[in-house]
Symmetry: C2
Subunit: 310 residues, 2 copies
Protein backbone atom coordinates (compact mmCIF):
# COMPACT_ATOMS: atom_id res chain seq x y z
CA UNK A 1 0.00 0.00 0.00
CA UNK A 2 1.20 3.47 -0.92
CA UNK A 3 -1.38 6.18 -0.28
CA UNK A 4 -1.51 9.94 0.06
CA UNK A 5 -4.46 11.27 2.05
CA UNK A 6 -5.11 14.98 1.69
CA UNK A 7 -5.97 16.69 5.00
CA UNK A 8 -5.56 20.23 3.73
CA UNK A 9 -5.26 21.65 0.21
CA UNK A 10 -5.59 25.43 0.60
CA UNK A 11 -2.87 28.03 0.34
CA UNK A 12 -2.16 30.11 3.47
CA UNK A 13 -5.79 31.27 3.74
CA UNK A 14 -8.09 28.29 4.36
CA UNK A 15 -11.70 28.06 3.19
CA UNK A 16 -14.73 26.31 4.69
CA UNK A 17 -13.84 23.23 2.61
CA UNK A 18 -10.06 23.42 2.33
CA UNK A 19 -7.79 23.41 5.37
CA UNK A 20 -4.21 24.61 5.37
CA UNK A 21 -1.66 22.17 3.98
CA UNK A 22 -1.34 18.69 5.44
CA UNK A 23 -1.07 15.17 4.07
CA UNK A 24 -0.78 11.68 5.45
CA UNK A 25 1.47 9.34 3.47
CA UNK A 26 0.98 5.63 4.11
CA UNK A 27 3.61 3.12 2.98
CA UNK A 28 2.52 -0.34 4.07
CA UNK A 29 2.36 -0.16 7.87
CA UNK A 30 4.08 3.18 8.29
CA UNK A 31 2.43 6.60 8.29
CA UNK A 32 4.02 10.00 7.75
CA UNK A 33 2.40 13.37 8.37
CA UNK A 34 3.67 15.96 5.92
CA UNK A 35 3.07 19.54 7.06
CA UNK A 36 0.51 20.44 9.66
CA UNK A 37 -1.63 23.53 9.11
CA UNK A 38 -4.22 24.87 11.53
CA UNK A 39 -6.84 22.30 12.49
CA UNK A 40 -4.99 19.28 11.09
CA UNK A 41 -5.88 17.06 14.03
CA UNK A 42 -9.58 17.75 13.54
CA UNK A 43 -9.11 16.71 9.90
CA UNK A 44 -7.58 13.44 11.15
CA UNK A 45 -10.73 12.83 13.20
CA UNK A 46 -13.17 13.94 10.49
CA UNK A 47 -11.61 11.62 7.96
CA UNK A 48 -11.22 8.66 10.30
CA UNK A 49 -7.43 8.45 9.86
CA UNK A 50 -5.78 6.23 12.43
CA UNK A 51 -2.64 7.64 14.04
CA UNK A 52 -1.58 4.25 15.36
CA UNK A 53 1.18 3.70 12.79
CA UNK A 54 2.16 7.34 12.52
CA UNK A 55 5.87 7.40 13.19
CA UNK A 56 7.19 10.45 11.34
CA UNK A 57 6.23 14.08 10.92
CA UNK A 58 7.92 16.15 8.22
CA UNK A 59 7.60 19.94 8.13
CA UNK A 60 8.56 21.48 4.80
CA UNK A 61 9.12 25.05 6.01
CA UNK A 62 8.19 27.43 8.79
CA UNK A 63 5.52 29.55 7.16
CA UNK A 64 2.60 29.55 9.59
CA UNK A 65 0.20 27.61 7.40
CA UNK A 66 2.58 24.62 7.24
CA UNK A 67 3.25 24.05 10.94
CA UNK A 68 0.76 25.92 13.11
CA UNK A 69 -1.38 22.86 13.84
CA UNK A 70 1.59 20.88 15.10
CA UNK A 71 1.32 21.50 18.84
CA UNK A 72 -2.38 20.61 19.00
CA UNK A 73 -1.49 17.52 16.95
CA UNK A 74 1.26 16.44 19.34
CA UNK A 75 -0.86 17.02 22.44
CA UNK A 76 -3.87 15.19 20.96
CA UNK A 77 -1.61 12.24 20.04
CA UNK A 78 -0.66 12.13 23.70
CA UNK A 79 -4.35 12.01 24.66
CA UNK A 80 -4.73 9.02 22.33
CA UNK A 81 -2.49 7.11 24.74
CA UNK A 82 0.53 7.17 22.48
CA UNK A 83 3.71 5.79 23.99
CA UNK A 84 5.91 5.04 20.97
CA UNK A 85 8.50 7.64 19.94
CA UNK A 86 7.64 10.18 17.26
CA UNK A 87 10.27 11.47 14.84
CA UNK A 88 9.93 15.06 13.67
CA UNK A 89 12.05 16.18 10.71
CA UNK A 90 11.83 19.92 10.24
CA UNK A 91 13.82 23.14 9.92
CA UNK A 92 16.05 23.50 12.99
CA UNK A 93 14.21 26.57 14.35
CA UNK A 94 11.11 24.52 15.08
CA UNK A 95 12.70 22.72 17.99
CA UNK A 96 12.82 25.73 20.32
CA UNK A 97 9.20 26.55 19.40
CA UNK A 98 8.04 23.06 20.37
CA UNK A 99 9.97 23.29 23.61
CA UNK A 100 8.58 26.73 24.45
CA UNK A 101 5.03 25.54 23.82
CA UNK A 102 5.48 22.51 26.07
CA UNK A 103 7.01 24.73 28.75
CA UNK A 104 4.40 27.50 28.87
CA UNK A 105 1.53 25.02 28.59
CA UNK A 106 3.12 22.86 31.32
CA UNK A 107 2.67 19.83 29.08
CA UNK A 108 4.49 16.55 29.56
CA UNK A 109 3.95 14.07 26.77
CA UNK A 110 3.88 10.36 27.54
CA UNK A 111 5.92 9.63 24.44
CA UNK A 112 9.31 10.74 23.24
CA UNK A 113 9.76 13.32 20.51
CA UNK A 114 12.94 12.82 18.52
CA UNK A 115 13.62 16.05 16.69
CA UNK A 116 15.87 15.99 13.65
CA UNK A 117 16.82 19.08 11.69
CA UNK A 118 16.48 18.48 7.96
CA UNK A 119 19.58 18.74 5.74
CA UNK A 120 20.10 22.32 4.55
CA UNK A 121 21.13 23.36 1.06
CA UNK A 122 21.51 19.83 -0.26
CA UNK A 123 19.36 16.87 -1.13
CA UNK A 124 19.97 13.57 0.57
CA UNK A 125 18.20 10.44 1.69
CA UNK A 126 17.68 11.33 5.33
CA UNK A 127 15.54 8.35 6.27
CA UNK A 128 15.75 4.81 4.98
CA UNK A 129 14.49 1.36 5.91
CA UNK A 130 14.20 -1.89 3.94
CA UNK A 131 10.73 -0.75 2.84
CA UNK A 132 11.09 2.92 1.99
CA UNK A 133 13.40 5.89 1.76
CA UNK A 134 12.75 9.62 2.03
CA UNK A 135 14.91 12.26 0.44
CA UNK A 136 14.55 16.01 0.97
CA UNK A 137 14.11 18.23 -2.09
CA UNK A 138 15.44 21.79 -1.66
CA UNK A 139 12.67 24.11 -2.87
CA UNK A 140 12.82 27.75 -3.95
CA UNK A 141 10.62 29.67 -1.56
CA UNK A 142 10.74 33.00 0.29
CA UNK A 143 11.76 31.33 3.54
CA UNK A 144 14.84 29.13 3.87
CA UNK A 145 15.10 26.23 4.35
CA UNK A 146 12.13 24.92 2.44
CA UNK A 147 12.06 21.24 1.53
CA UNK A 148 9.93 18.96 -0.51
CA UNK A 149 10.09 15.21 0.06
CA UNK A 150 10.63 12.30 -2.29
CA UNK A 151 9.10 9.12 -0.92
CA UNK A 152 10.31 5.87 -2.44
CA UNK A 153 8.49 2.66 -1.71
CA UNK A 154 10.98 -0.14 -2.16
CA UNK A 155 10.26 -3.69 -3.11
CA UNK A 156 12.58 -5.48 -0.71
CA UNK A 157 11.48 -8.92 -1.93
CA UNK A 158 11.80 -10.09 -5.53
CA UNK A 159 8.64 -11.47 -7.10
CA UNK A 160 8.94 -15.18 -7.93
CA UNK A 161 7.76 -16.39 -11.33
CA UNK A 162 6.11 -19.42 -9.71
CA UNK A 163 4.72 -20.87 -12.93
CA UNK A 164 8.27 -21.48 -14.19
CA UNK A 165 9.38 -23.39 -11.08
CA UNK A 166 8.65 -27.02 -10.13
CA UNK A 167 5.73 -27.31 -7.73
CA UNK A 168 7.65 -29.40 -5.15
CA UNK A 169 10.49 -26.91 -4.64
CA UNK A 170 11.43 -26.62 -0.95
CA UNK A 171 10.09 -23.45 0.76
CA UNK A 172 13.62 -22.38 1.73
CA UNK A 173 14.50 -21.97 -1.94
CA UNK A 174 11.52 -19.68 -2.48
CA UNK A 175 12.78 -17.54 0.39
CA UNK A 176 16.30 -17.51 -1.07
CA UNK A 177 15.02 -16.49 -4.51
CA UNK A 178 12.86 -13.69 -3.03
CA UNK A 179 15.96 -12.47 -1.22
CA UNK A 180 18.02 -12.57 -4.44
CA UNK A 181 19.97 -15.79 -3.76
CA UNK A 182 20.36 -18.36 -6.58
CA UNK A 183 19.30 -21.95 -5.84
CA UNK A 184 22.32 -24.22 -6.28
CA UNK A 185 22.97 -27.94 -5.99
CA UNK A 186 25.65 -29.48 -3.78
CA UNK A 187 28.24 -28.98 -6.54
CA UNK A 188 27.55 -25.28 -6.45
CA UNK A 189 25.87 -25.36 -9.86
CA UNK A 190 22.97 -22.98 -10.33
CA UNK A 191 19.64 -24.80 -10.65
CA UNK A 192 17.29 -21.83 -10.56
CA UNK A 193 18.82 -18.41 -11.02
CA UNK A 194 17.44 -15.22 -9.53
CA UNK A 195 17.71 -13.67 -12.96
CA UNK A 196 15.55 -16.28 -14.71
CA UNK A 197 13.02 -17.11 -12.03
CA UNK A 198 12.26 -13.77 -10.35
CA UNK A 199 11.60 -10.18 -11.29
CA UNK A 200 12.17 -7.05 -9.26
CA UNK A 201 9.22 -4.69 -9.47
CA UNK A 202 10.43 -1.13 -9.85
CA UNK A 203 10.34 1.20 -6.88
CA UNK A 204 7.36 3.50 -6.68
CA UNK A 205 7.93 7.20 -6.10
CA UNK A 206 5.90 10.12 -4.79
CA UNK A 207 7.33 13.64 -4.72
CA UNK A 208 5.80 16.38 -2.55
CA UNK A 209 6.78 19.87 -3.72
CA UNK A 210 5.23 22.69 -1.70
CA UNK A 211 5.85 25.64 -1.42
CA UNK A 212 8.03 26.54 -4.37
CA UNK A 213 8.41 28.74 -7.38
CA UNK A 214 8.89 27.08 -10.77
CA UNK A 215 12.34 25.60 -10.43
CA UNK A 216 13.87 23.35 -13.08
CA UNK A 217 16.88 22.61 -10.85
CA UNK A 218 14.53 20.21 -9.09
CA UNK A 219 13.99 18.10 -12.21
CA UNK A 220 16.90 15.65 -11.85
CA UNK A 221 15.71 14.82 -8.32
CA UNK A 222 12.13 14.05 -9.27
CA UNK A 223 12.74 12.40 -12.64
CA UNK A 224 10.29 9.57 -13.43
CA UNK A 225 8.25 9.88 -10.25
CA UNK A 226 4.95 8.04 -10.34
CA UNK A 227 3.04 10.88 -8.73
CA UNK A 228 4.18 14.47 -8.41
CA UNK A 229 2.32 16.65 -5.92
CA UNK A 230 3.15 20.21 -6.91
CA UNK A 231 1.79 23.41 -5.50
CA UNK A 232 -0.33 25.56 -7.81
CA UNK A 233 -1.12 28.65 -5.79
CA UNK A 234 -1.93 30.73 -8.88
CA UNK A 235 -3.32 30.46 -12.39
CA UNK A 236 -0.89 31.37 -15.13
CA UNK A 237 -2.54 34.73 -15.86
CA UNK A 238 -1.00 35.68 -12.50
CA UNK A 239 2.43 34.19 -13.27
CA UNK A 240 4.14 37.40 -12.24
CA UNK A 241 2.50 37.31 -8.81
CA UNK A 242 3.49 33.66 -8.49
CA UNK A 243 7.08 34.50 -9.30
CA UNK A 244 7.17 37.47 -6.91
CA UNK A 245 5.84 35.41 -4.01
CA UNK A 246 7.92 32.30 -4.81
CA UNK A 247 4.89 30.23 -5.72
CA UNK A 248 3.88 28.38 -8.90
CA UNK A 249 1.02 28.45 -11.38
CA UNK A 250 -0.96 25.40 -12.45
CA UNK A 251 0.70 25.57 -15.85
CA UNK A 252 4.17 25.67 -14.29
CA UNK A 253 3.30 22.66 -12.13
CA UNK A 254 2.24 20.83 -15.30
CA UNK A 255 5.48 21.84 -17.02
CA UNK A 256 7.41 20.41 -14.09
CA UNK A 257 5.43 17.14 -14.34
CA UNK A 258 6.05 17.00 -18.08
CA UNK A 259 9.77 17.69 -17.85
CA UNK A 260 10.19 15.31 -14.91
CA UNK A 261 8.48 12.59 -16.93
CA UNK A 262 6.08 12.15 -14.00
CA UNK A 263 3.26 9.70 -14.57
CA UNK A 264 0.64 11.65 -12.66
CA UNK A 265 0.30 15.17 -11.30
CA UNK A 266 -1.59 16.17 -8.18
CA UNK A 267 -2.20 19.90 -7.71
CA UNK A 268 -2.78 21.66 -4.40
CA UNK A 269 -2.21 24.83 -2.32
CA UNK A 270 -4.87 26.84 -4.16
CA UNK A 271 -5.22 30.55 -3.47
CA UNK A 272 -8.66 31.81 -2.41
CA UNK A 273 -8.43 34.60 -4.99
CA UNK A 274 -9.97 32.09 -7.42
CA UNK A 275 -13.41 31.01 -6.33
CA UNK A 276 -13.36 27.86 -8.41
CA UNK A 277 -10.69 25.17 -8.61
CA UNK A 278 -11.69 23.84 -12.06
CA UNK A 279 -9.50 26.34 -13.97
CA UNK A 280 -6.43 24.91 -12.18
CA UNK A 281 -7.28 21.49 -13.54
CA UNK A 282 -8.03 22.74 -17.05
CA UNK A 283 -4.85 24.79 -17.21
CA UNK A 284 -2.61 21.90 -16.14
CA UNK A 285 -4.42 19.34 -18.29
CA UNK A 286 -3.85 21.49 -21.37
CA UNK A 287 -0.26 20.22 -21.38
CA UNK A 288 -0.31 17.34 -18.86
CA UNK A 289 -3.56 15.37 -19.15
CA UNK A 290 -2.98 13.01 -16.22
CA UNK A 291 -3.62 15.71 -13.62
CA UNK A 292 -5.83 15.62 -10.52
CA UNK A 293 -6.82 18.19 -7.91
CA UNK A 294 -6.13 17.61 -4.22
CA UNK A 295 -9.36 17.73 -2.22
CA UNK A 296 -9.55 17.56 1.58
CA UNK A 297 -10.40 14.07 2.80
CA UNK A 298 -9.57 12.33 -0.48
CA UNK A 299 -6.94 9.57 -0.71
CA UNK A 300 -4.93 8.88 -3.84
CA UNK A 301 -3.16 5.59 -4.39
CA UNK A 302 0.42 5.96 -5.56
CA UNK A 303 0.78 3.33 -8.26
CA UNK A 304 3.51 2.53 -10.71
CA UNK A 305 3.17 4.72 -13.78
CA UNK A 306 1.89 2.96 -16.89
CA UNK A 307 5.24 2.85 -18.66
CA UNK A 308 6.92 0.82 -15.92
CA UNK A 309 4.09 -1.64 -15.70
CA UNK A 310 4.31 -2.63 -19.36
Amino acid sequence: MFLVTILGSSAAMPTPTRNQTSQIITIENTRFLVDCGDGTFVQILRNGVSTKNLKYIFISHLHTDHFTGLMAFLVCLGMQSRHSPLYIYAPADLEQYINLHLKISQTTLDYEIIFQALPEGKSEVFLETAHFSVQNLPLEHRIKPCNGFLFTKKNPKRTILAEKLPKNLLPKYYIDLQAGIDVKNENDEILFSVEDYTILLPECKYAYCSDTKYNTELLPLIQNVDVLYHEATFLHKDAQKANNTYHSTALEAAQMAQQANAKQLLLGHFSIRYHDSKPFLEEAKSIFPNTYLAEDGVSFEIQLGEREKE
Copy 2:
Protein backbone atom coordinates in the same frame (compact mmCIF):
# COMPACT_ATOMS: atom_id res chain seq x y z
CA MET B 1 -26.87 43.34 20.51
CA PHE B 2 -25.14 40.97 22.93
CA LEU B 3 -24.30 37.60 21.41
CA VAL B 4 -22.08 34.63 22.14
CA THR B 5 -21.17 32.52 19.11
CA ILE B 6 -19.69 29.12 19.89
CA LEU B 7 -16.75 28.21 17.64
CA GLY B 8 -15.55 25.27 19.72
CA SER B 9 -17.20 23.34 22.56
CA SER B 10 -15.01 20.27 23.12
CA ALA B 11 -12.63 19.62 25.96
CA ALA B 12 -8.94 19.21 25.06
CA MET B 13 -9.67 16.39 22.58
CA PRO B 14 -11.82 17.67 19.70
CA THR B 15 -14.33 15.57 17.77
CA PRO B 16 -15.49 15.72 14.16
CA THR B 17 -18.29 18.10 15.26
CA ARG B 18 -16.77 19.91 18.24
CA ASN B 19 -13.61 21.98 17.95
CA GLN B 20 -11.42 22.96 20.87
CA THR B 21 -12.67 25.93 22.92
CA SER B 22 -13.35 29.25 21.27
CA GLN B 23 -16.15 31.81 21.35
CA ILE B 24 -16.92 35.12 19.72
CA ILE B 25 -18.67 37.66 21.96
CA THR B 26 -20.42 40.51 20.18
CA ILE B 27 -21.48 43.63 22.11
CA GLU B 28 -23.03 46.09 19.66
CA ASN B 29 -20.25 46.90 17.18
CA THR B 30 -17.40 45.29 19.08
CA ARG B 31 -16.24 41.69 18.85
CA PHE B 32 -14.12 39.70 21.28
CA LEU B 33 -12.52 36.33 20.65
CA VAL B 34 -12.36 34.27 23.83
CA ASP B 35 -9.85 31.42 23.66
CA CYS B 36 -8.57 30.03 20.40
CA GLY B 37 -8.21 26.26 20.05
CA ASP B 38 -6.85 24.45 17.02
CA GLY B 39 -8.66 25.33 13.80
CA THR B 40 -10.52 28.36 15.20
CA PHE B 41 -9.98 30.44 12.08
CA VAL B 42 -11.56 27.75 9.90
CA GLN B 43 -14.54 27.83 12.27
CA ILE B 44 -14.76 31.59 11.69
CA LEU B 45 -14.95 30.93 7.94
CA ARG B 46 -17.34 27.98 8.20
CA ASN B 47 -19.77 29.99 10.29
CA GLY B 48 -19.53 33.18 8.27
CA VAL B 49 -18.34 35.28 11.23
CA SER B 50 -16.98 38.66 10.18
CA THR B 51 -13.70 39.67 11.83
CA LYS B 52 -14.14 43.31 10.81
CA ASN B 53 -15.11 44.54 14.28
CA LEU B 54 -12.91 42.10 16.17
CA LYS B 55 -10.80 44.26 18.45
CA TYR B 56 -9.94 42.05 21.41
CA ILE B 57 -8.66 38.52 21.99
CA PHE B 58 -8.77 37.06 25.49
CA ILE B 59 -6.91 33.86 26.36
CA SER B 60 -8.07 32.24 29.60
CA HIS B 61 -5.03 30.05 30.22
CA LEU B 62 -2.13 28.41 28.42
CA HIS B 63 -3.29 24.83 28.11
CA THR B 64 -2.78 23.92 24.47
CA ASP B 65 -6.46 23.55 23.59
CA HIS B 66 -7.17 27.17 24.59
CA PHE B 67 -4.52 29.00 22.56
CA THR B 68 -3.00 26.76 19.90
CA GLY B 69 -5.06 28.22 17.04
CA LEU B 70 -3.95 31.76 17.85
CA MET B 71 -1.02 32.16 15.46
CA ALA B 72 -2.98 30.90 12.44
CA PHE B 73 -5.75 33.25 13.52
CA LEU B 74 -3.43 36.26 13.70
CA VAL B 75 -1.78 35.51 10.36
CA CYS B 76 -5.14 34.92 8.63
CA LEU B 77 -6.44 38.22 10.03
CA GLY B 78 -3.45 39.85 8.36
CA MET B 79 -4.39 38.21 5.05
CA GLN B 80 -7.87 39.72 5.44
CA SER B 81 -6.20 43.13 5.00
CA ARG B 82 -6.51 44.09 8.64
CA HIS B 83 -4.81 47.34 9.60
CA SER B 84 -6.47 48.28 12.91
CA PRO B 85 -4.68 47.34 16.14
CA LEU B 86 -5.59 44.13 17.91
CA TYR B 87 -5.52 43.86 21.70
CA ILE B 88 -4.57 40.50 23.19
CA TYR B 89 -5.19 39.96 26.92
CA ALA B 90 -3.59 36.73 28.08
CA PRO B 91 -1.24 35.17 30.60
CA ALA B 92 2.12 36.95 30.37
CA ASP B 93 3.99 33.88 29.02
CA LEU B 94 2.07 34.03 25.76
CA GLU B 95 3.88 37.13 24.56
CA GLN B 96 7.25 35.44 24.00
CA TYR B 97 5.48 32.58 22.20
CA ILE B 98 3.80 34.98 19.77
CA ASN B 99 7.09 36.74 19.18
CA LEU B 100 8.98 33.49 18.60
CA HIS B 101 6.36 32.33 16.09
CA LEU B 102 6.53 35.60 14.16
CA LYS B 103 10.33 35.40 14.19
CA ILE B 104 10.79 31.82 12.99
CA SER B 105 8.02 32.15 10.40
CA GLN B 106 9.51 35.48 9.22
CA THR B 107 6.06 37.02 9.48
CA THR B 108 5.40 40.75 9.60
CA LEU B 109 1.80 41.64 10.29
CA ASP B 110 0.31 44.78 8.72
CA TYR B 111 -1.46 45.60 11.97
CA GLU B 112 -0.27 46.23 15.48
CA ILE B 113 -0.65 43.67 18.25
CA ILE B 114 -1.00 45.26 21.66
CA PHE B 115 -0.27 42.57 24.21
CA GLN B 116 -1.54 43.00 27.75
CA ALA B 117 -0.87 40.51 30.54
CA LEU B 118 -4.05 39.78 32.49
CA PRO B 119 -4.17 40.65 36.20
CA GLU B 120 -2.87 37.78 38.31
CA GLY B 121 -4.37 36.56 41.57
CA LYS B 122 -7.10 39.20 41.71
CA SER B 123 -10.25 40.14 39.88
CA GLU B 124 -10.56 43.57 38.34
CA VAL B 125 -12.21 45.39 35.49
CA PHE B 126 -9.30 45.41 33.05
CA LEU B 127 -11.16 46.85 30.07
CA GLU B 128 -13.94 49.44 30.06
CA THR B 129 -15.67 51.74 27.61
CA ALA B 130 -18.97 53.59 27.75
CA HIS B 131 -20.64 50.52 26.25
CA PHE B 132 -19.10 47.57 28.08
CA SER B 133 -16.68 46.42 30.70
CA VAL B 134 -14.73 43.19 31.10
CA GLN B 135 -13.53 41.81 34.40
CA ASN B 136 -11.27 38.79 34.85
CA LEU B 137 -12.45 35.95 37.07
CA PRO B 138 -9.65 33.96 38.75
CA LEU B 139 -10.44 30.27 38.16
CA GLU B 140 -9.19 27.18 39.94
CA HIS B 141 -7.35 25.11 37.35
CA ARG B 142 -4.17 23.04 37.19
CA ILE B 143 -2.27 25.81 35.41
CA LYS B 144 -1.91 29.32 36.84
CA PRO B 145 -3.04 31.90 35.92
CA CYS B 146 -6.40 30.80 34.61
CA ASN B 147 -9.07 33.44 34.13
CA GLY B 148 -12.71 33.54 33.25
CA PHE B 149 -14.25 36.75 31.98
CA LEU B 150 -17.31 38.71 33.06
CA PHE B 151 -18.70 40.79 30.20
CA THR B 152 -21.06 43.62 31.16
CA LYS B 153 -23.06 45.38 28.46
CA LYS B 154 -23.84 48.82 29.77
CA ASN B 155 -26.75 51.00 28.83
CA PRO B 156 -25.00 54.33 28.46
CA LYS B 157 -28.18 56.14 27.49
CA ARG B 158 -31.30 56.29 29.69
CA THR B 159 -34.53 55.20 28.02
CA ILE B 160 -37.04 58.09 27.72
CA LEU B 161 -40.64 57.45 28.70
CA ALA B 162 -41.83 59.33 25.60
CA GLU B 163 -45.53 58.82 26.26
CA LYS B 164 -45.28 60.95 29.43
CA LEU B 165 -43.59 63.90 27.66
CA PRO B 166 -45.24 66.63 25.50
CA LYS B 167 -44.91 65.85 21.79
CA ASN B 168 -43.37 69.24 20.91
CA LEU B 169 -40.43 69.00 23.32
CA LEU B 170 -37.22 70.27 21.70
CA PRO B 171 -34.82 67.48 20.57
CA LYS B 172 -32.02 68.88 22.76
CA TYR B 173 -34.08 68.09 25.87
CA TYR B 174 -34.46 64.47 24.76
CA ILE B 175 -30.70 64.25 24.43
CA ASP B 176 -30.23 65.81 27.88
CA LEU B 177 -32.69 63.41 29.48
CA GLN B 178 -31.00 60.39 27.79
CA ALA B 179 -27.72 61.65 29.21
CA GLY B 180 -29.23 62.01 32.70
CA ILE B 181 -29.67 65.83 32.73
CA ASP B 182 -32.92 67.30 34.06
CA VAL B 183 -34.82 69.70 31.78
CA LYS B 184 -35.11 73.07 33.54
CA ASN B 185 -36.69 76.42 32.74
CA GLU B 186 -34.81 79.74 32.75
CA ASN B 187 -35.40 80.07 36.51
CA ASP B 188 -33.59 76.78 37.05
CA GLU B 189 -36.79 75.02 38.02
CA ILE B 190 -37.06 71.40 36.96
CA LEU B 191 -39.72 70.89 34.29
CA PHE B 192 -39.01 67.24 33.43
CA SER B 193 -36.80 65.28 35.78
CA VAL B 194 -34.55 62.41 34.77
CA GLU B 195 -36.06 60.43 37.61
CA ASP B 196 -39.68 60.81 36.45
CA TYR B 197 -39.28 60.75 32.69
CA THR B 198 -36.56 58.15 32.03
CA ILE B 199 -35.58 54.73 33.20
CA LEU B 200 -32.17 53.09 33.18
CA LEU B 201 -32.32 49.54 31.88
CA PRO B 202 -30.17 47.24 33.97
CA GLU B 203 -26.78 46.14 32.69
CA CYS B 204 -26.67 42.74 31.04
CA LYS B 205 -23.99 40.25 32.10
CA TYR B 206 -22.31 37.19 30.61
CA ALA B 207 -19.74 35.19 32.57
CA TYR B 208 -17.34 32.78 30.85
CA CYS B 209 -15.87 30.22 33.26
CA SER B 210 -13.55 27.69 31.63
CA ASP B 211 -11.49 25.75 32.69
CA THR B 212 -12.19 25.43 36.41
CA LYS B 213 -13.01 23.06 39.19
CA TYR B 214 -16.15 23.71 41.24
CA ASN B 215 -15.24 26.85 43.10
CA THR B 216 -17.72 28.73 45.26
CA GLU B 217 -15.23 31.57 45.83
CA LEU B 218 -16.26 32.68 42.36
CA LEU B 219 -19.90 33.21 43.37
CA PRO B 220 -19.71 36.84 44.57
CA LEU B 221 -18.13 37.82 41.25
CA ILE B 222 -20.77 36.23 39.04
CA GLN B 223 -23.85 36.94 41.17
CA ASN B 224 -26.99 37.64 39.12
CA VAL B 225 -25.39 37.16 35.70
CA ASP B 226 -27.88 36.80 32.88
CA VAL B 227 -25.97 33.96 31.26
CA LEU B 228 -23.31 31.80 32.87
CA TYR B 229 -21.11 29.75 30.55
CA HIS B 230 -19.55 27.11 32.74
CA GLU B 231 -17.36 24.21 31.76
CA ALA B 232 -18.77 20.72 32.29
CA THR B 233 -15.98 18.39 31.28
CA PHE B 234 -17.43 15.45 33.23
CA LEU B 235 -20.71 13.95 34.38
CA HIS B 236 -21.16 13.79 38.12
CA LYS B 237 -20.57 10.04 38.31
CA ASP B 238 -16.96 11.04 37.56
CA ALA B 239 -16.86 13.87 40.12
CA GLN B 240 -13.64 12.53 41.60
CA LYS B 241 -11.92 12.65 38.21
CA ALA B 242 -13.24 16.19 37.70
CA ASN B 243 -11.84 17.24 41.05
CA ASN B 244 -8.47 15.59 40.43
CA THR B 245 -8.05 17.30 37.05
CA TYR B 246 -9.42 20.68 38.20
CA HIS B 247 -12.50 20.42 36.02
CA SER B 248 -16.24 20.46 36.79
CA THR B 249 -19.21 18.19 36.32
CA ALA B 250 -22.48 19.24 34.71
CA LEU B 251 -24.15 19.06 38.13
CA GLU B 252 -21.48 21.30 39.67
CA ALA B 253 -21.92 23.81 36.84
CA ALA B 254 -25.66 23.82 37.57
CA GLN B 255 -24.96 24.30 41.30
CA MET B 256 -22.82 27.30 40.44
CA ALA B 257 -25.61 28.74 38.26
CA GLN B 258 -28.12 28.16 41.04
CA GLN B 259 -25.99 29.69 43.79
CA ALA B 260 -24.98 32.63 41.57
CA ASN B 261 -28.66 33.29 40.85
CA ALA B 262 -27.80 33.15 37.15
CA LYS B 263 -30.75 33.41 34.78
CA GLN B 264 -29.42 30.95 32.23
CA LEU B 265 -26.67 28.34 32.09
CA LEU B 266 -24.68 27.39 29.02
CA LEU B 267 -22.57 24.22 29.31
CA GLY B 268 -19.46 23.43 27.27
CA HIS B 269 -16.00 21.78 27.23
CA PHE B 270 -17.38 18.24 27.03
CA SER B 271 -15.02 15.29 27.37
CA ILE B 272 -15.05 12.71 24.56
CA ARG B 273 -15.30 9.92 27.14
CA TYR B 274 -19.08 10.41 26.89
CA HIS B 275 -20.36 9.70 23.41
CA ASP B 276 -23.56 11.66 23.89
CA SER B 277 -24.01 15.19 25.20
CA LYS B 278 -27.64 14.76 26.30
CA PRO B 279 -26.74 13.43 29.77
CA PHE B 280 -24.90 16.72 30.47
CA LEU B 281 -28.12 18.61 29.78
CA GLU B 282 -30.28 16.24 31.80
CA GLU B 283 -27.93 16.30 34.76
CA ALA B 284 -27.75 20.11 34.90
CA LYS B 285 -31.48 20.57 34.25
CA SER B 286 -32.29 18.33 37.21
CA ILE B 287 -31.44 21.28 39.47
CA PHE B 288 -31.21 24.23 37.04
CA PRO B 289 -33.88 23.95 34.33
CA ASN B 290 -32.80 26.94 32.22
CA THR B 291 -29.72 25.16 30.88
CA TYR B 292 -28.47 24.88 27.29
CA LEU B 293 -25.62 23.02 25.62
CA ALA B 294 -22.98 24.87 23.63
CA GLU B 295 -22.85 23.58 20.05
CA ASP B 296 -20.27 24.65 17.47
CA GLY B 297 -21.66 27.27 15.12
CA VAL B 298 -24.62 28.21 17.31
CA SER B 299 -25.15 31.76 18.59
CA PHE B 300 -26.92 32.54 21.86
CA GLU B 301 -28.35 35.98 22.56
CA ILE B 302 -27.47 37.31 26.00
CA GLN B 303 -30.70 38.85 27.23
CA LEU B 304 -31.74 40.31 30.55
CA GLY B 305 -32.92 37.55 32.84
CA GLU B 306 -36.68 37.40 33.36
CA ARG B 307 -36.61 38.84 36.85
CA GLU B 308 -35.00 42.09 35.71
CA LYS B 309 -37.39 42.52 32.83
CA GLU B 310 -40.49 42.43 35.00
